[in-house]
């Protein structure tokens, strides 16, 4: 329980044990009771903790910068205790080539040709694509990761503050900071989908490559990173099982909407927008149904217990 606070005071130890913190514990500081509780433990454990830190320090200095960045990249949740990891882990040269290569994607797709042309644009040779052990896949993941970074940047630059949405049903106008989490999620999904506009016609090829069995784990973790980013940026603070279900549903909605978008010919992608709206409503409906089912089962259970007791059973 005391781990997040404890680790935040001891960055060296935090770096080495980041992966074992479970997602919910990162949000524990939200409740005051937990804070006092963990502070007590915190002070009682001080001697131990400090020696612990000392032991860990040499270990973490041995970590190469590459290893450390991949560590932070692996952290599968958002935390207020740690700075946000960079959205990708490519080196300067790699980023230069990949950024240049993205300019060629609308014409050549996510292919080795784009990568080669990108390398040439910034003064590298054809052979320099050896910098990318995963070839085209690196281009795809750079695209995904950099767009994710852009989305984060947009929110930080006041995406919601500048918005005002009129609700036709209640005929009121909502300011950006009054939006609910669900509404923000929808805005963010659509915002992210809009970034695919230029490469829409090439995206199916990329999806095909990403669904190649050996690439599936990486693709899924990138999808998780995106859904987690969307929910965090929307201000979601769930710490229970909902943390998982929400991320799963956002992932499912986003992934299916992406496929729909590749075949959407309407102006302004109104079909895709409608699709996203329907799917999110479905999610809410399923959520509601599950809640009702739980309630119903609870009533039936308590009725059965009450009935049993009235018959003299020792329950």
């Amino acid at each position: 329980m005391a781990q997040p606070l404890l680790l935040s005071r001891c960055p060296a130890a935090a770096a080495s044990s980041r992966r074992i913190i479970n997602p919910s514990s990162s949000h524990l500081n939200l409740t005051t009771t937990t804070i006092t509780y963990s502070r007590n433990i915190h002070s009682s454990l001080r001697p131990y903790r400090e020696s612990h830190c000392h032991r860990q320090q040499p270990k973490s200095t041995q970590l190469t910068p590459v290893a450390r960045s991949s560590y932070s990249y692996l952290r599968p949740y958002h935390s207020k205790h740690h700075p946000e990891p960079p959205s990708h882990e490519y080196t300067n040269s790699q980023t230069t080539i990949l950024s240049a290569a993205l300019n060629h994607v609308p014409e050549h797709g996510f292919t080795l040709d784009s990568l080669t042309l990108g390398a040439r644009d910034v003064g590298f040779l054809d052979v320099s694509v050896q910098l990318f052990p995963r070839r085209e896949l690196d281009l795809i993941f750079f695209w995904l990761a950099s767009r994710r970074g852009l989305l984060r940047g947009k929110v930080e630059n006041g995406l919601f503050e500048d918005l005002s949405i009129s609700d036709p049903r209640t005929e009121t106008v909502k300011k950006g900071n009054e939006l609910s989490v669900e509404e923000k999620v929808k805005i963010l999904i659509l915002e992210r989908l809009k970034m695919n506009k230029e490469i829409r016609h090439k995206w199916q090829d990329a999806l095909a490559l990403m669904s190649f069995p050996s690439n599936v784990p990486l693709s899924l973790s990138e999808l998780h990173a995106l859904s987690s980013d969307i929910l965090t940026l929307a201000g979601d603070t769930s710490v229970d099982a909902a943390w998982y279900t929400k991320r799963l549903s956002v992932s499912a909605v986003y992934a299916s909407a992406e496929v729909v978008m590749t075949r959407d010919e309407t102006a302004g992608f109104s079909d895709t927008e409608a699709f996203v709206e329907r799917r999110l409503e479905d999610c809410n409906a399923v959520d509601g149904k599950i809640g009702e089912l739980k309630q119903c089962l609870g009533f039936m259970g308590s009725t059965a217990v009450g009935l049993g007791r009235s018959w003299g059973l020792k329950i």
Partner: protein
């Protein structure tokens, strides 16, 4: 018996006294002096030749003798020792490097062909594969390979084999007798791709060879090396060690009639640095290391190392 050994001791010491007259003869100190002898201050630096330590100046000629004696039966022996797997490794190596530019056939304006330098490629195994790949897969008829080897016998074997290839007597294939540590005939920044396959462990000064590779490569050029390395699975390692130390010298004796050369081969494999150490040597020469820096083949019996020479502007 004891008198005989004493006589032998005296006899040897008498002999040694002739060789090293500056050391005064002292009775009963012969064996001590024999032990001291190698650690005496010596102008020549020592290096290893298999498990033996020899003078650096001698290594070149001794390795030369080994390869002169195995040149003719080189391919048969490789097949027998690796059970044919070396062909798969070499095919994979060439395929992953993807030599030859696919773009010129699509965009006539782009620069043509790669300049490939294949070090220690005497028999042309890699060079012919690369030219085939460039021609047949990438439709690039411009890529050139220079085969460099320190050993004239191996080069002669390669020249003999090149007669059967379509590249014989064309400007796409050339031979050069050179020491990879000093190649004054190759100008700075002139090579796109530098490969050394199962050769670098025989070099006297590996770091010097890496520095020389860095010099001759164009900025953005790639250093690619395939070499025997350390097996990462303990159980498989035991089987592999048994095979290499028992079977390979025996096969060498039976097939090539030369046990000593193959004994040297397995010992030199054992002495070669591990994947991580060699990666750090490549980094030390100034190369950028993409990703993890090496790719294990057959759980690490062989490993492919890559380094990319940085482009100044991008860094």
């Amino acid at each position: 018996m004891s008198s005989r050994s004493m006589w032998r001791g005296l006899h040897y010491s008498a002999k040694r006294r002739i060789l090293t007259p500056q050391t005064p003869y002292r009775c009963f100190s012969c064996s001590l002096r024999a032990q001291d002898q190698p650690s005496k201050p010596n102008d020549d630096r020592m290096t290893h030749f298999g498990f033996n330590n020899i003078r650096e100046s001698e290594k070149e000629s001794m390795v030369g003798a080994v390869f002169s004696s195995v040149a003719s039966s080189y391919d048969t022996m490789n097949d027998l020792m690796s059970l044919g797997i070396h062909r798969l490794w070499k095919d994979h190596f060439v395929r992953s490097l993807n030599p030859g530019s696919a773009l010129p056939s699509k965009y006539p304006s782009s620069p043509n062909g790669w300049n490939i330098l294949d070090i220690a490629g005497g028999t042309g195994d890699i060079a012919f594969r690369m030219l085939d790949h460039a021609t047949n897969i990438n439709n690039d008829h411009q890529t050139r390979v220079t085969i460099a080897d320190i050993n004239a016998d191996m080069l002669a074997e390669g020249k003999k084999r090149s007669i059967d290839t379509p590249y014989y007597n064309t400007n796409r294939l050339s031979f050069m007798e050179a020491n990879a540590e000093r190649m004054p005939s190759v100008p700075d920044n002139s090579v796109d791709l530098y490969t050394v396959v199962f050769g670098i462990r025989n070099f006297t000064d590996k770091q010097a060879a890496l520095n020389e590779a860095f010099r001759v490569l164009k900025p953005g050029g790639v250093f690619a090396c395939m070499e025997f390395s350390k097996v990462d699975n303990a159980l498989f390692n035991a089987v592999y060690k048994r095979w290499s130390f028992s079977a390979i010298p025996l096969i060498g004796q039976l097939v090539a009639g030369d046990r000593a050369s193959y004994q040297y081969l397995v010992e030199s494999i054992e002495r070669f640095p591990s994947q991580e150490e060699f990666r750090d040597m490549i980094r030390k020469a100034g190369f950028m290391i993409p990703g993890r820096g090496f790719e294990n083949l057959s759980t690490g019996i062989a490993a492919i190392h890559r380094g990319v020479k940085p482009v100044e502007r991008a860094e």
